[in-house]
Symmetry: C3
Subunit: 315 residues, 3 copies
């Protein structure tokens, strides 16, 4: 999330009750979680395992629970014993949860010739383009951005909260929600089926590219990025921060793990499980998914085990 | 879809700006996509790969982008450079999208002792029989036909649009929706769980047979036909135009591909993937699904590979 | 289900038109299906296959369609030709289906600082604690009990009817719904994602333990019990009467069969299928799920079949 305008580090340090280590006159332009962090951003880290990643990331300002680490050149640390609570405080300040009591929020902007059918909820600061059809019983959460000629079928949820938690075993509440401040962006000519769930970005955006078509009961995690002209069949699930490049085709009930990339034109056969980044313009199959030709040969080999056994017994 | 009454080919040719080749005095009784086409129907074809199939189908009238093919005996061609656009024009003429603004459309007919719970949307020309319970937040789209003693649980969508598109890479909009003019027919004593999605037929009907019971989060594609007294457990997905005969049992998370048939009394174990037509009265397992006994033996053989390896190494 | 107060067997025998065999002066304290039956309960059995199980269960009173079985010491039989119909009569007497016509039932109790967003249905006798957020288009069915600090995301259904039927091939209606009289109990600090379906207990309760976090499109069957601080990722499905002990982690698209137990701290990798009770504090993978290390070794062995074949051919 970018702040509406740059914010002085001194002000943030006061808000979260942190001690500044390094250049204290800088200004932060936003806050992001580690996968999406950019120059000018704040990031937080509370586990030594991730110190190095965060200190070496693009983030300019690191909220951290250790004051003995070396401050990287040109960066500033904000020391506090509870970096996660500090993160929540900043997010809640800039993007407070302000639940709309109306079916269609006054702050929503809806384009010409767009049809909103009954029972659909449209949250605060949502923007919908022209010539869209939003079917009944859809939910579009705050800050979603939807282009032109988009169809969203009945019962679909746009911008639900991510399955993204800060876990600590020795705390009264073990898992604490990482308050989302991101959103969902749906480009022109996208069509989304019925009863899908599209989580919003935790700190950045979940994006569906122009002309992509999605079937029913599909799950897209936070910060998933889908390219242009992709096809996703029914009951597909894609975990957080994974990227599908343009023209990817995913058949039914496929699962795709988090933070990987599927190259342009890749095709994944039904019920496969994609566990690693894969190259484009090839067909994949199985769990874990491998190239379809290799998988088919593997099936043949498995069926030949009895024959092999017989040969060995007879030799 | 059948037309309300037969329509002269001359009138259709004018509507879609096509040239008639063959008997131009005939009348068309309906329009259907290739899987469901009948005598008297129009069908369209725009790819040379499918010319022969369409010309030899039951269709009497073929909308085609090639005037040099041989007109089959007793049939008529309607030549146009854009058969898909012509199809859309005909469908939109006879079944225009006319979104209801009411929760329950005035043109819906609801039987005696049927309970419609709050927040449920019932579209135009829907018919619901007697003694049904339609739970909250259900969506029943236009032209659905529901029998007596039917239960539809909360959040389920009946008659969503099919995942069925005309794709062309060299066009500004690569995938264009095949406008659906079919519907969903649910026979007596059917029960459907929560948050399911039942797509309507693209040009024909999706049908659920008498006494069939469906669990939660199940997906049925367009033109799927389910027989009588079937059981479908949670999270099952069935792709377009597939048929389940009577008494089929499908356990949880099974995926079934398009345009195949599962014989009467077939049982498919959980998480299987059915990729081909299968015979009735047998049990199937695995992806691709094979007879359960064969699959179990395969598991045992895989576990014996290390033993086999040892034997070979020692010999 | 426990009755509001103990009920005389004589009264029940009259209600269901049954003959009492054994001590006819006793009082029943409730009715339950066989998996959840307790001392003082009624249970019914109509198939000889289950006679022994029911007669030897904790149930004090057995509704049965055979008067020639030996009455166990201290128990009473209620003989009728239709035990299932008798069960339905008792359940409908004590927990009749009384559909609320309001969005939020007058008999629902909602705690302080709890936010109920638009389009959400809350049924009769529902109880919701303090500081909860119930997002739009949620359905919470009758008798659900929800603790404090609970978040339920959009489109989720709490307390849907179980996929649990009495099947008889020679009857006009082959499958008859086992009328549910159980409920759903959600403890404090639970968070449930969007478009989930949580069935209520058939006769007992479906329970989600304190601090458990559930992602989108998850299915929990009737009488499932989830412990404290569990994580369930998207599109997981858990069949009826299965128990997850504390701290279990289930990754995406996993299926878990009915009436088994997953030990505390068990972890199940994505897309696995759990078919048997498994021990805690281990990682599982595959369908059927086995320990992850064993499964990974199995994958390696399958890939070595061609090499093995070559060795055998060369020897």
């Amino acid at each position: 999330m970018k702040f509406p305008s740059p914010v002085s580090l001194q002000w943030i340090a006061t808000l979260i009750n942190a001690e500044l280590l390094g250049n204290s006159n800088a200004e932060a332009t936003g806050i992001n979680e580690i996968h999406k962090v950019q120059k000018g951003d704040l990031v937080f880290v509370d586990h030594p395992k991730y110190y190095t990643t965060c200190l070496n990331s693009a983030a300019s300002f690191i909220i951290i629970n250790n004051k003995d680490v070396v401050v990287p050149d040109g960066k500033t640390l904000l020391y506090t014993t509870e970096p996660f609570e500090a993160y929540l405080k900043i997010v809640n300040h800039f993007r407070p949860f302000n639940p709309s009591k109306q079916m269609i929020s006054d702050s929503a902007v809806i384009g010409e010739s767009t049809v909103i059918m009954p029972n659909t909820f449209i949250g605060n600061h949502v923007s919908i383009g022209n010539n869209c059809v939003i079917h009944p019983n859809v939910v579009i959460h705050d800050h979603s951005v939807i282009g032109n000629n988009v169809i969203i079928q009945s019962g679909t949820i746009i911008g639900s909260d991510a399955f993204y938690y800060n876990g600590k075993k020795d705390r009264d509440v073990m898992y604490k929600r990482m308050q989302s401040c991101g959103n969902v962006v749906i480009e022109d000519n996208v069509e989304i089926g019925a009863n899908c769930t599209i989580d919003r970005g935790v700190t950045s955006e979940t994006r569906i590219g122009k002309g992509t078509i999605i079937d029913n009961l599909v799950q897209l995690g936070h910060e998933v990025v889908i390219g242009k002209n992709c096809l996703l069949a029914s009951q597909v699930g894609i975990a957080g921060a994974t990227t599908l490049e343009d023209g990817v085709i995913i058949w039914g009930q496929v699962g795709i793990t988090k933070t990987i990339t599927l190259g342009a034109g890749a095709v994944v056969m039904a019920q496969s499980g994609v566990t690693n980044t894969i190259k484009g313009n090839k067909v994949y199959m199985g769990t874990p998914a491998i190239e379809a030709g290799d998988k088919r040969r593997e099936y043949v080999w498995v069926k030949r085990i009895p024959e092999l056994w017989k040969k060995v017994m007879e030799s």
